[in-house]
């Protein structure tokens, strides 16, 4: 099971999300799929260059064994951004769903220009 490491796992998740974005016609499901992709990228960065047995980079621990703090700090930012963009997408989706009466991309695109 050497090959089953976190980077392959997150890469797999990324393409699962991508598959969802391409195939799902429901707007909510595409938003979920993009979130899966985002989460997989975050997982990838958190575990990049992670040594087995390392401890969280919190004051009081042994500095020699601490995990790389940079990706962890960055990923908090990325998570916050992801949440706010998702919230914005959902807010817009409510408006679109009310106006066009559908949550299907294919139906919406035909109703838009009439």
């Amino acid at each position: 099971m050497e090959w089953l490491n976190s980077s392959h796992l997150s890469l797999g998740l990324f393409f699962v999300g991508l598959y969802g974005v391409i195939t799902q016609r429901n707007v909510i499901k595409t938003i979920i799929s993009i979130n899966i992709m985002d989460a997989s990228a975050i997982l990838f960065l958190i575990t990049a260059n992670l040594q087995p047995g390392s401890v969280p980079p919190i004051a009081g621990g042994d500095p020699a064994r601490m995990a790389d703090p940079v990706p962890q700090a960055l990923m908090i930012t990325a998570i916050v951004i992801g949440v706010s963009v998702t919230a914005m997408c959902l807010a817009l989706f409510i408006r679109v769903a009310h106006r066009y009466g559908s949550s299907d991309w294919e139906k919406i695109v035909h109703r838009v220009d009439d």
């Binding site: 980077s7 997150s10 890469l11 990324f14 999300g17 991508l18 974005v21 391409i22 195939t23 799902q24 016609r25 707007v27 595409t30 938003i31 993009i34 992709m37 985002d38 997989s40 990228a41 975050i42 990838f44 960065l45 990049a48 260059n49 940079v70 990706p71 960055l74 930012t77 990325a78 951004i81 706010s84 963009v85 914005m88 997408c89 817009l92 989706f93 408006r95 679109v96 106006r99 066009y100 991309w105 294919e106 919406i108 695109v109 838009v112 220009d113």
Partner: protein
Amino acid sequence: MLIQYIPTLYVLVLLPVVVGAIGYFLPRRMYQGVLLVFGLVMIAISAAVFYEVRVMGEVVEQVAGWGDSISISLRADELSAPLVLMTSVLFFLFFVFNSRAPYMDNTFQYLFMTLQCALLGMFLSGDLFNVYVIMEVGMLAVSILIMYKKEKQSVYDGMMYLMINFLAMAFMLLGIGYLYRITGVLDFIGMHNKIAQINDPRALVLPYALIMTAIALKAALFPLFSWLPRAHGAPSAPSIISATLSGVQVKVGVYLLIRMQWVFSPVIDASVFFAVLGFVTAVIGFLLAVSQKDIKLILAYHTVSQVGLIVLGLNGGTDYAFWGGMYHIINHAMFKGLLFLTAGVIIDQYGTRNYSQIRGVFRRMPWIGIAGFAGVLGITGTPLFNGSISKYLIQNGLQGNLAEIGMFIVNLGTVLSFVKYSTMFFGKAPDEVKPLKDPYINGVSMLIGLGCLAGGIFGAQAVQLLYGQSYNLSGTLGAEKLIMFAITLALGIALYFGVVKRIGGFLQRIRDNKLNYNQVALLITVFFAFLTTYLYITV
């Protein structure tokens, strides 16, 4: 100098959003006044930075004084300083242009300032993750701004824009993750140095493809441009937003393309790929532009075409073509900004967006007509106007190979679509259309129009001033060029009246062909897969 005592670059990035936030609670008129003065301050600071870069070279600022490639840095160099200056000047002019618009409330102005902050941040950041963060901020601001006038399909346009870009940013984040795992730094220069020491180039294929997919989408390259016309030509987007997006924001993609290509340059060189892609984008862009009826959509699709031309120049492989492409970025910002501004005014006055129902702009609104026509002359590369200089440089840089014929085709397409666009300037205007008497709108339009002319007449000096490259540009007015332009113009007019006007049904089918979100996502995936395969074969 002043720059040594205060962190000018931080001020430049943060000040718009700080001033915007503090002044937000002032009454509208006062807020507008504050921001107008502030726009001048921004121009002054940008000019100081630009001067500093020209005279002393790169300006770098590190947070908290940590060393290179550890701390988060801001960096102004010869590539970004002219773009920063351009952004500040255009934002100020657009702001003045819009002073009397009814939708200029506090929220709009605040979001406009946020957009300026985001654009400056992207140009000045020396750190890839910061670029990612600022891109997301800019994306949120833009998606609200393009639906600001709340017209019928605005929410859909905003949602498409936001979700397509959100998807692309997920690609970018994973690419950053890969790059961080390989290099351990996020600073552009740090990454460049680490990449130079890598033995296995194939390890870099995946991060390169992931990041470039996101950037190609931001730069609206073929086949990832379908979000651009929706956003830039959206009926609900105020004209200054369309002008900002087409003039400045899309250049962020082009700028990052250059930056990231440089970062990867020791190992991966895909400039041939991007040169071909640029050419294809340029051709598809003008074909779609010609088939549109909506004047804002003609301009929006034409932005796609011009970005393709810029990318072709930047990847042309010679200094001439590269600096021609760089100069074309500035020129395109000027004339496309001007064209969007005047188009917005024309749409408001005529109450229609259909080019065939608009006639007689020259008679009804002479100032807007003249300024808009100067924009048309600029974009078609008419001798004496700025477009001719940059196109001449690109063409010279590509001399002696197939790309030169490509340039001719792109030029012909530009002329063709602007023959269509220009028909609205002539003829007799309907009586119900009122002349426009807004000194701000007329003044700013004329000023940018004159800028287009000045950029052409003093072309060599402008290139020298902006980029420190001296070229002999007397050839732009040579007999050969003039004859070539006349042939292109005649051919363009003949093609328009002979062919384009007769295939209305076919063009209607092109216009009806709208992509839904899943198809856009599929195109992004196909682009990513193609780029990855191409790199595996060539690297």
